[in-house]
Symmetry: C2
Subunit: 337 residues, 2 copies
């Protein structure tokens, strides 16, 4: 059972364990600073499929398969698959789930979905609904561009605050027991909207949600930012991270020494990703390949993983709406193995 | 804590209580056989907003507000809002959540989302993450037609197996204790696909998922269909229900005496809904307005609520894909109040 800590945070009295993981990425992600950490690289956007969407769904499936194998489990032992993607009606996740025998819960939190799936996976285990839960999300540069922005064939110039959607799928297998990094707390985010209307400036739209969730988490737990070796946001990018740091400074919290962002880590500026990586595959692959590895190796002891999502649609933008955002926080500790 | 029963079902040892509910529907739904049960009717598709999508989001918000009030709770007492809708990137739910202070988890299970939200709400309560959870989903005829089918202005003729998307939002407040109908078990569905490619025949696409979830539920629990006063599917419609009954008969289960379908109940054939109602608002409003009322009044003792979803997108159909489907089962018992 989890225990409420403050108004918005829960502490897991029996932590949930990361028993296995998998991360598949595209070529550009492989060439980035974290390239060596990923399990598999997809050399082209189609990966032998007839459409980018089918390739994205295949990445989802293969990431789950890798994570289950990595966990040393048989497919029959997985009680639940929870997750999603960015595509309309979650076709990547839904079609991948069809290829499995796992009970499935589809989730949508835009780029926050990895954290959402870890929270729901933790709930399922703590509630006794499941012993082993596979949590997986994916995104794909080419499917996201054509769905959310412009056809790639147009070669549209990006604006300076734009980010590049990560091609990648990250999966974790959470278990009721075992060795390894563990989830010891969660803070579920609220939807916030500071009125940003520029869909090419997602970092700015998401910064308030990240700042709010981090603020509420630290207030609820009475912890200083330095309690964590790193407070890792999902994909704020360079500009969004600056805004978040400023918003937290105004509330009296200085995160400069511990703020990391998966969107900043995954690409180098030489690769011209503008403000950095984005997409739910960004935080999912960086978590599963890099952060959990560093926790396993004892190089990091405790992190707060805060994936952030912008809850817009192309239609809401056309209808003049601003961009609501959300961020969920998950406390991950090194554990014993 | 929940206890595993068989491979796919859990029994809640401390049942989760339906403490309050709300159901808002459109004019045609109000004119149907269940019209008197709904809490509020929206007389036109825009409900004073500038777009159908904004009206749908308003229905979501108002259904949640009604349910929280009906539960006798203050907004501050709600620990979590879980749910979604059919629109790309869940803009109805996400934008409605922005107007609240509730931590939010966005879910997508097409028309199965009401059952998915009840399962996740139950998990959250059983796991100690929340005392009170608002679960809400919505759909809207006009937004669904233009997103999934053809612009309304074309006046396209429907095919005989088509269904009509319900304009409606249904919300439940689940609580850790209290009087009233209660959730005592859950069966999470798997994604199944029998190769149906006709997006105007969703009932046929969803029938195998419904049959599978019901079959696994009854096998896991060792119950006969007659254990339930009603086994209520979401929106199979007339043709889909027939297919489901046949599939179960082939497996040796006769559900004819207990099979209900929200899509069949919500409209009369005089209203020309073809095979019946559909959309996640269909099962959500029928559950919250009608089924829970009959459980409260002691007219029904036990039901198995099995919302069904078709996990296609317009793009997956254009790419030649068949239609994967899912169904989740929730056991609801009368309780003591």
């Amino acid at each position: 059972m989890a225990k409420k800590v403050g108004n918005f945070t829960v502490a897991l009295e029996r932590p949930v364990v990361f028993r296995g993981g998998g991360a598949i990425v595209g070529k550009m992600e492989k060439q980035g600073p974290l390239g060596d950490y990923f399990d598999h690289v997809v050399q082209d956007d189609l990966w032998g499929e007839k459409s980018w969407e089918k390739a994205e769904s295949k990445m989802y499936y293969e990431a789950v398969r890798h994570a289950v194998k990595d966990a040393g489990l048989m497919a029959e032992e997985i009680d639940l698959l929870a997750g999603g993607d960015l595509l309309n009606q979650l076709i990547s996740a839904g079609f991948a789930a069809r290829e499995t025998e796992f009970p499935f819960l589809g989730l949508y939190g835009a780029c926050s979905t990895m954290a959402e799936s870890l929270i729901i996976g933790s709930m399922a285990i703590e509630a006794g609904f499941a012993h082993h839960v596979a949590c997986c999300v994916t995104s794909h540069f080419s499917t996201a561009e054509r769905q959310f922005r412009t056809p790639l064939e147009l070669g549209t110039q990006k604006t300076p605050t734009a980010q590049r959607t990560v091609t990648g799928a990250g999966a974790s297998v959470l278990s009721v027991s075992g060795q390894g990094p563990r989830i010891t707390g969660c803070t579920i985010g609220k939807v916030l909207d500071y009125g940003i209307k520029d869909a090419a400036n997602m970092g700015a739209a998401m910064a308030p949600a990240a700042a709010d969730t981090i603020y509420r988490h630290l207030s609820d737990t009475g912890r200083d930012p330095g309690y964590y070796d790193a407070i890792v946001t999902g994909d704020l990018g360079i500009f969004g991270q600056q805004l978040m740091l400023e918003q937290l400074r105004e509330k009296g919290m200085d995160l400069r020494d511990v703020a990391w962002d998966c969107g900043i880590e995954i690409f180098s500026q030489d690769q011209d990703p503008h403000m950095g990586g984005s997409g739910c595959g960004c935080s999912a692959t960086v978590l599963n390949a890099y952060l959990l590895r560093r926790l396993r190796e004892g190089d990091l002891n405790r992190i707060l993983f805060v994936a952030t999502g912008a809850l817009l649609s192309p239609l809401s933008t056309l209808q003049g709406e601003s961009i609501p955002s959300i961020a969920h926080g998950v406390v991950i500790e090194r554990g014993d193995g």
